[in-house]
Amino acid sequence: MICAGIDAGSRTIKVVLIDGEKLTVLGSGVVDQGIEQEALAERLLRDVLKTAGIGRDEVASIVATGYGRKLIHAADSQVTEITCQATGVSHCLPGTRTVIDIGGQDSKFLQLLPSGKVSDFAMNDRCAAGTGRFLEMVATQLGVHVSDLGEMAGRSRKPAQISSMCVVFAETEIVGLLAQGCTVEDIAAGIQASIAQRINAMGGLRTTPPFVFTGGVALVPTMDAALSSALGHPVTVAPDPQLTCALGAAIVAAKRIGVAKGADGA
């Protein structure tokens, strides 16, 4: 049976199709988020199905997750991104004990049991600090694309000290650093380090290795190294880190209709 997961995140919508019995991925897609969330999600699902050569009526179960999950009426049920992310990561990388997820407008710290179930979590969704939005702001100010920030940070020789984690004040701070002759590479590295420290502080005492890094920000090169440095442990970037939550939603969908093993996790 075909199952689908739709992750309606704050910056992008992701769809993953799986074979519910084998839990293998049959198709996936990502599209930028917009005002017409439901229409965008529906169109993306249709496109992914078409590419995979699967008919809409073959989809046995759909679970929506992410901030926009309640707006996805095509879904049979809605499950939070905490549960779905944990399910997706545990499927890809069994034995993971901590998931760090940095998305467009929030960041999360999930502590998992050896079974892969969530035992505790923390979220930052009130402040742009420690999120992809923060990196976007910095990239804009430095006149580069956000995807180039990581590579630039990798060339840094002396990462700048960014003391403010407020987007507005950090912007002022960056202007000051540029005026002092600080290189964009050092500023990029400083920003990555400050985000990593922020994430580490959010996790508090809940830092059990092995760590896995997910979310759109995990696609930024060297961000994993900055996190490893802050946490004092290696951090593994999940395969297709932007899609693990949608994958988890698809797996939960399969469990809910009883085609996949295990409890549905929600």
Binding site: T80, E81, I82, K117, L205
Partner: protein, 460 residues
């Protein structure tokens, strides 16, 4: 008993009120349909879901008519005492005196929520230099200026010392505006040194005898201020009788909490339980009626427990809730997500503990004041919370905070860490402003994720 307990909207309450009225509902003089409070500006009721029992109707009406009671007390020439930063000690003394009514001006922090900012109290506080970097209790300043919510009290008595910085600053601003404040000091509670006399306080805390004696002396000073104002002495017998009445309220609340938190399904929603608990602080300006309201609520709860019914699902996730919320809707949200409250610590656990009756009344009040969870270490508070979490069998914990409230910036984290270490339960930290509408999606996500986490592990 209500036939089918449920949480209903204000629209549904209109129909429910007609049903109750036509079936012979007996109400006190402050009774009536809940919708009438919208006319008074309490528009938040339009967004809440409330318990559908007659006992809860009475509770809500009692809460929302306190201003009327205070106005009436003023007309009758009673002495009005505003007790600031005092969650349950000086009010007991005041209510032991004839024709004295104590109330809690700091309680104005709820007005921006219940009136959805329409009263403009926070804007007035802004104009007085107390901006949103302060606790929402700054709404009290606005209420003193507008005089639209309570009469200006004849006496203002405020504890200071090991209390909230924000409240102290706001009360000083009030004093500077010409509302004279009588201060009494409460020290930071500490464990007795080995060579010191150790005094067991109500609840689980201890303090050195010297601290109890100090607080007793401070309260004696407050007693003289009260006596000087009303022109007669407060006798030991009257004070002992006042303590007994306060303990009657606390006993009722203890029974209510026990019944609500231990029964399954939950016989009363979190919102009504929260409001009932808040009555412990100052009796909503009428001690005798407060007792009647709680007796009625307890009777309803007991009947529901006996019948095995309640407004929430049997398998609702059992959540221990720490700290009161500024937006009452947060309590609805937990239940919408599939949770239920099975234990609380709203920062005034000492006002729920019985005041000792076997010792001299003033020493008993001093011990009660020192048992305030806010005047000691957050770790001490966390230990007591852990004890209650175990007692009520919670599966998860929510630590709520209010933006700008500065009682202890790290307290949520400290309590969370102690609970995780001791009990290995998931702990969710949330921040709830007076109107949390813009945060509703994120709050709901967190609460739903907490419920999912617990349920997933139940199945494990």
């Amino acid at each position: 008993m209500t036939d089918s307990p449920s949480r209903i909207t204000l629209d549904e309450w209109d129909r429910r009120y007609e049903e109750l009225s036509s079936s012979g509902l007996q109400e006190p003089d402050y009774g009536g349909c809940l919708r009438r409070h919208i006319g008074d500006g309490d528009t938040r009721l339009l967004r809440l879901r409330m318990d559908n029992s007659a006992a809860s109707l009475r509770l809500w009406n009692f809460l929302l008519t306190e201003e009327d009671r205070l106005g009436k007390a003023r007309e009758e020439g009673k002495t009005l005492v505003g007790t600031l930063k005092d969650l349950g000690t000086v009010p007991v003394m005041a209510y032991s005196m004839k024709n004295v009514v104590a109330f809690y001006p700091d309680g104005a922090w709820w007005i921006p929520c219940i009136m959805e900012h329409n009263a403009g109290l926070l804007e007035i506080a802004d104009s007085l230099g107390i901006d949103d970097s302060f606790c929402p209790v700054r709404a009290m300043l606005g209420a003193f200026v507008s005089q639209a919510h309570f009469p200006i009290p004849d006496l203002l008595i405020c504890s200071v010392g090991a209390t909230c910085d924000d409240l102290s600053a706001i009360a000083q601003r009030l004093d500077a505006m010409g509302h004279a404040v009588h201060w009494w000091e409460i020290p930071h509670r500490r464990d007795p040194d080995p060579e010191e006399e150790a005094v067991r306080l109500p609840g689980t805390f201890r303090a050195p005898g010297s601290q109890v004696a100090f607080v007793q002396a401070e309260l004696e000073r407050v007693r003289r201020i009260l006596e000087d104002h009303v022109g007669f002495a407060l006798s030991e017998d009257d004070l002992a009788a006042g303590i007994q009445r306060a303990n009657r309220v606390r006993t009722l609340l203890g029974r209510l909490r026990e019944a609500v938190f231990t029964a399954s399904p939950a016989p009363l929603p979190a919102l009504e339980t929260l409001i009932a608990e808040m009555l412990a602080i100052h009796f909503c300006s009428d001690q005798n009626e407060c007792i009647a309201v709680l007796e009625s609520l307890l009777a309803e709860v007991r009947q529901r427990v006996r019948a095995g019914v309640g407004p929430l699902a049997d398998d609702a996730t059992r959540v221990f809730w720490i700290n009161p919320v500024a937006d009452l809707r947060a309590m609805n949200m937990l239940e919408d997500a599939g949770g239920r409250v099975c234990g609380t610590e709203y920062l005034f656990s000492h006002a729920l503990d019985l005041i000792p009756e076997e010792i001299a009344p003033m020493e008993a009040l001093a011990r009660s004041a020192l048992a305030d969870p806010m005047v000691g270490s957050p770790v001490d508070r966390a230990e007591r919370i852990c004890h209650d979490i175990e007692r009520f069998g919670a599966e998860a914990v929510v630590v709520s905070s209010i933006p700008g409230a500065s009682h202890c910036a790290m307290e949520g984290r400290i309590i969370g860490d102690v609970v995780r270490r001791r009990l290995a339960l998931p702990v969710l930290e949330i921040e709830v402003p007076p109107i949390a509408d813009s945060l509703e999606p994120t709050l709901r996500t967190r609460l739903e994720a907490l419920v999912e986490t617990v349920r997933s592990n139940r199945l494990r």
